[in-house]
């Protein structure tokens, strides 16, 4: 049973001299006076009177009384500062029933091989972790791939933008298999046109593939961490060779042969300390392959923070602090650009650092928090997305290591497995969630359970550190959002022209 905790269900935070509150029940973000920031946590406390007296010593009794009146008015007029906490309930078992959890898919991710021609310093697949598949020689058979695609085609016909993506290892090591899959899916699709994408390190982007990529309009997500000296620090071949220049040559050859390919390219930057954000930003703002071919558009970039847990990593504490300073500096630059209406000139890296989170927050649910709340609402296993391992295991996504399974190509999605996964997750986090201010914005998902192998018969835990880290992240996002919202409306109108996909 949840016990109602007295006091507003809010999170109060400070950035420089300014105070903000995030109101969980309304999902509202507020700018507040310092005295209200001091008073809010005291409301409803048993020792409220003594606590208020302490605040009065600091702000003066008039100010404190005004803050208390404002709190009461906020409750009455705007529905803010409510004490209400929802009851945390497990997912409705009906969500895991046959016909509910195995009928609608939008994205199929095929891990076509465990082989990789690179040995990146931060790659979890090369770290010997017990819960993550290691680089190996396993490759998906055509039968497995076709079986998974058939299953997907039976479930995506009603979806708006179905997609099949290829993952690895290095997916381009299995170009022939991908060609077979694309041809099969095109031939047998009964719904909207399917989009195909490949996650690749770009090293094997051979000339012989360019025609196929163009004909099938295939999207590529290329891992490219920045200019050669930064990229090659971590992303090396199995033999230790450099890779950046070869990737850039491949990208240039691709867009020279097919300019439309530039519209289907995106690049993912994995940040690890030590690094140089300015150098990466400059690199993408004047992206050499595009410049040399005369393509004016900026590349689409996304940013990824490497997970170094379990890895032996040479970064020092000083390097980590330096990266924090660089990100803070980028944040200031971003806010200045917003304020001065020069966002367009920021370059893709700086935008990629902050905007995906801002956009998601902008589109957050504004309906009032209900009586109950189900954790794990961040994902519906078996719906929307399905990852297939090289040996044909079905998983909720590609981030869950070797630990979680929903079935296989031979069994289909197993409702029992989905139900167990949902319940395991609920049991792992529900105690923690019930009084957590970040529950509506939380990103902790099943992948957080893929951190170790559980003892036989016990559920998979979600490390408490994961929750702490996500709360810090959410607060940072809220803080950035608050700063952006303080700018004139015209300078943040771009948020209205965005979507969450």
């Amino acid at each position: 049973m949840n016990e109602k905790k007295h006091g507003p269900f809010c999170h109060i935070f400070c950035d420089e001299e300014d105070w903000f509150a995030y109101d969980v029940n309304t999902n509202a973000l507020l700018e507040i006076e310092p005295v209200l920031a001091a008073v809010l946590p005291l409301a409803g406390r048993r020792d409220q009177e003594a606590a208020v007296k302490q605040v009065a010593d600091r702000f003066g009794r008039d100010q404190v009384e005004e803050a208390m009146a404002s709190l009461a008015e906020g409750r009455r007029v705007d529905g803010l500062f409510s004490d209400h906490r929802p009851r945390i309930v497990p997912p409705d078992p009906a969500l895991a029933a046959a016909g509910a959890c195995d009928r609608e898919l939008s994205q199929l991710v095929l891990s076509v091989t465990d082989r990789c021609n690179l040995r990146c310093g931060y790659c979890p697949h090369g770290a010997g972790l017990s819960h993550v598949r290691s680089h190996g020689n396993a490759t998906m058979t055509t039968g497995t791939a076709i079986g998974a695609v058939s299953y997907f085609l039976d479930r995506c016909a009603d979806r708006a933008n179905p997609s099949i993506s290829f993952y690895g290892g290095e997916a381009l090591l299995e170009a022939e298999l991908m060609e077979e899959v694309v041809a099969f899916a095109r031939r047998h699709s009964r719904g909207p046109e399917i989009t195909f994408s490949i996650d690749t390190n770009g090293l094997l982007l051979a000339e012989s593939l360019i025609g196929w990529l163009r004909r099938e309009e295939i999207y590529l997500q290329i891992s490219l961490d920045g200019p050669p000296d930064l990229h090659d620090r971590n992303r090396r071949t199995a033999g230790g060779g450099r890779t950046c220049e070869r990737i850039l040559e491949n990208v240039e050859r691709l867009v020279r042969a097919d300019r439309s390919a530039a519209d289907r390219l995106s690049f993912i930057v994995t940040l690890t300390p030590p690094t140089d954000l300015v150098a990466i930003s400059d690199f993408y703002a004047d992206f050499p392959p595009f410049r040399r071919v005369g393509i004016e558009r900026q590349p689409v970039v996304s940013v990824n923070y490497a997970n170094l847990q379990g890895l032996s990593w040479p970064a020092s504490g000083e390097d980590c602090e330096d990266l924090q300073r660089q990100i803070e500096s980028a944040r200031r630059e971003y806010l200045s650009a917003i304020r001065e209406n020069r966002r367009e000139g920021l370059g893709p890296l700086i935008q990629a650092l902050f905007e995906p989170d801002l956009i998601r927050l902008h589109h957050r649910n504004r309906s009032p928090l209900g009586e109950t709340f189900t954790t794990g609402a961040n994902c519906r296993p078996g719906r929307r997305k399905l990852h297939v391992t090289v040996d044909g295991q079905y998983q909720p996504c590609e981030r869950v290591g070797d630990v979680l399974s929903l079935g296989s190509v031979s069994t289909g999605i197993r409702p029992d497995d989905v139900g167990r996964l949902q319940l395991d997750f609920h049991q792992a986090v529900s105690e923690r969630c019930r009084d957590c201010w970040a529950l509506r914005l939380c990103r902790v998902c099943y992948s957080a359970q893929a951190t170790e192998r559980a003892a036989v018969g016990s559920g998979l835990p979600v490390p408490a550190a994961t929750c702490r880290g996500v709360r810090r992240r959410v607060e940072t996002d809220l803080c950035m959002m608050a700063r952006v919202l303080q700018q004139p409306k015209s300078s943040r109108a771009f948020l209205d022209d965005t979507v969450v996909i």
Binding site: N304, A306, H363, S367, E398, R440, V444, G469
Partner: protein
């Protein structure tokens, strides 16, 4: 004493019933107009447990 910073009111889903629209998964990207046509990519890494936390300091 307080000021609401954004007033957008339309609902995008139902938190209570764990609607798909409330998925906060990182693969559901916030995308600008320029990127709308780009399909959601895969995750290369997990976003959890960074050793070099770059964010705020609060906790409960």
């Amino acid at each position: 004493m307080y000021r609401k910073l954004d007033e957008k009111t339309e609902s995008t889903g139902n938190v209570v019933t764990a609607a798909e629209e409330d998925c906060n998964c990182n693969c559901k990207r916030g995308s600008t107009e320029n990127e709308k046509e780009t399909p959601a990519g895969n995750h290369s890494q997990t976003e959890f447990a960074n050793h070099y936390e770059v964010h705020g300091s609060s906790d409960q």
